[in-house]
């Protein structure tokens, strides 16, 4: 129940007065309430918990984390295979 996963917003429309998105989770599409991520729109990745987007994935931060990890790999490679 508590597992949250990232998905891509493909469409946004109001349902019963609540901003609601269609979110694509690698092929599986679900309806997701955007009440807590009012700035999110099509093209954004959101972390979804039990039908609600609780956070917009920050693409720049995601890249930064990966860059740190890749740099770590590079340094090790140099040490192991000088």
């Amino acid at each position: 129940m508590c597992l949250g996963i990232p998905g891509l917003i493909t469409e946004v429309e109001p349902v019963d007065g609540l901003r609601t998105a269609t979110v694509d989770f690698g092929g599986v599409r679900k309806r997701v309430c955007l009440a807590y991520t009012p700035a999110a729109g099509p093209g954004d990745y959101v972390i979804v918990h039990v039908g609600f987007a609780i956070s917009v994935v920050d693409a720049a931060e995601a890249e930064r984390t990966l860059a740190v990890l890749r740099a770590m790999d590079g340094v090790l490679e140099q040490e192991l295979n000088p």
């Binding site: 129940m1 508590c2 597992l3 949250g4 996963i5 990232p6 891509l8 019963d16 609540l18 989770f25 690698g26 679900k30 309430c33 009440a35 807590y36 991520t37 009012p38 990745y45 972390i47 918990h49 039990v50 039908g51 609600f52 609780i54 956070s55 994935v57 920050d58 693409a59 931060e61 995601a62 930064r64 984390t65 990966l66 740190v68 990890l69 890749r70 770590m72 790999d73 090790l76």
Partner: protein
């Protein structure tokens, strides 16, 4: 898929493990708080790949596991009433109560429904005006915004046949309980990333300072967990005890304002009983007075039911990290995911179920000794 696959890269995982081996000079014991993290750690065998001396203790962050027996018995008492529909998240259905579970009640004719979102339960209520619909609202700070919105939405629609059986719990008081336990061995925490996506991490700063423990807000993919462990170990090796954020792509310091506002409007902080652990002061959420009319305990008069645990289940020791499933005599024999004695064997986020699905067995010697 984007934001999942790249955080599962085995080459980068090996680089992180090598870096971790390089910075580690002493044994350290860390706790991952969230059951979702336990699931990834055990499934991927991350705990077994760590440099010798770094030990992961699995924390109490499985919402299904800590929901008290009383609440389950209350849900089942409600589900057995004619004219009611009990809706819940799927993994609550097989959790054993004192006598039975919701799935067995359903097989015997009770109207028990699995929903993906609490909003689905509101929809059921709208479409079934002749029936009373009760949503079993459990979970941590991650599900609280969704459950709060279901209450707000039902109130706005003026639904008189919708109510919630609330058993919400909060993470920081549980971490305090772990840290103040007499036999606490936890030296650092991986905090639950998605709880912090909602609440931010300012609540953890006094904990880190008071108990002098590093707390690293951590994501759920293998690379997130390895980086979180590395950040915590670096702090320990350098004698620091701060709150750091590994999961920056999803978590901001103050969390999600809109979600917190909804939680504050619908819920108030209350003492809660944690299954297997006991009562922890100010560790949960209950409905505020404004929404008392939607309280299923009141509506159905089930608030006074009490219950007793199965005597062979050591869930409390598992949830506080005092024991692992391999220390339990019933694990894998009398207690399996098909025939669970206690909640940690039910949910994918439960430590016992995670061990069982990863095929972890007791060593042959201890089996012979039993």
């Amino acid at each position: 898929m984007r934001y999942l696959d790249e955080y599962r890269d085995p080459v980068l995982a090996r680089a992180l493990l090598a870096e971790l081996a390089q910075v580690t000079t002493r044994p350290w014991t860390l706790m991952e708080v969230c059951g979702g993290q336990t699931h990834t750690i055990v499934r991927q065998g991350i705990d077994e790949l760590l440099p010798g001396g770094i030990r992961m203790i699995h924390g109490p962050g499985c919402p299904v596991c800590v929901t008290p027996l009383e609440i389950l018995d209350q849900a089942m008492a409600i589900a057995q009433r004619p004219g009611t529909i009990l809706a819940s998240f799927g993994d609550m259905l097989r959790v054993p109560g004192s006598h039975t579970d919701l799935l067995s009640l359903r097989a015997r004719g009770a109207d028990v429904r699995v929903v993906y979102s609490p909003m689905d339960a509101v929809d059921i209520a709208r479409r079934s005006p002749q029936r009373q619909v009760v949503f079993l609202a459990v979970g941590f700070e991650t599900t609280a915004p969704a459950n709060a919105m279901a209450v707000l939405h039902a109130a706005e629609l003026g639904l008189t046949n919708f109510s919630v059986l609330v058993s919400h719990v909060l993470v920081p008081p549980a971490m305090t309980a772990v840290l103040t336990a007499a036999d606490c061995r936890v030296q650092g925490f991986l905090a639950a990333g998605h709880v912090c996506a909602v609440m931010g991490w300012t609540e953890y700063e006094p904990l880190a300072a008071t108990f002098r423990v590093p707390i690293v807000v951590t994501g759920f993919e293998p690379l997130d967990l390895l980086e979180g462990i590395l950040m915590a170990v670096r702090q320990l090796e350098q004698g620091r005890h701060e709150v750091e954020n590994q999961y920056a792509r999803a978590v901001r310091r103050h969390g999600n304002d809109e979600a917190q506002r909804a939680i504050r409007r619908v819920f108030r902080v209350t003492d809660r009983t944690w299954r297997g652990i006991g009562t922890i002061p100010a560790s949960g959420l209950a409905l505020t007075g404004e929404f008392a009319a939607l309280d299923a305990q009141r509506r159905f008069g089930v608030g006074r039911l009490t219950a007793r645990e199965h005597p062979d289940c050591v869930a409390g020791d598992i949830l506080t990290g005092t024991k692992t499933p391999l220390d339990c005599a019933a694990y894998g024999t009398r207690c399996t995911p098909r025939t669970p004695l206690g909640a940690p064997m039910v949910s994918a986020e439960g430590t016992c179920a995670a061990y069982h699905s990863a095929g972890r067995r007791r060593p042959a010697t201890s089996r012979a000794a039993r």
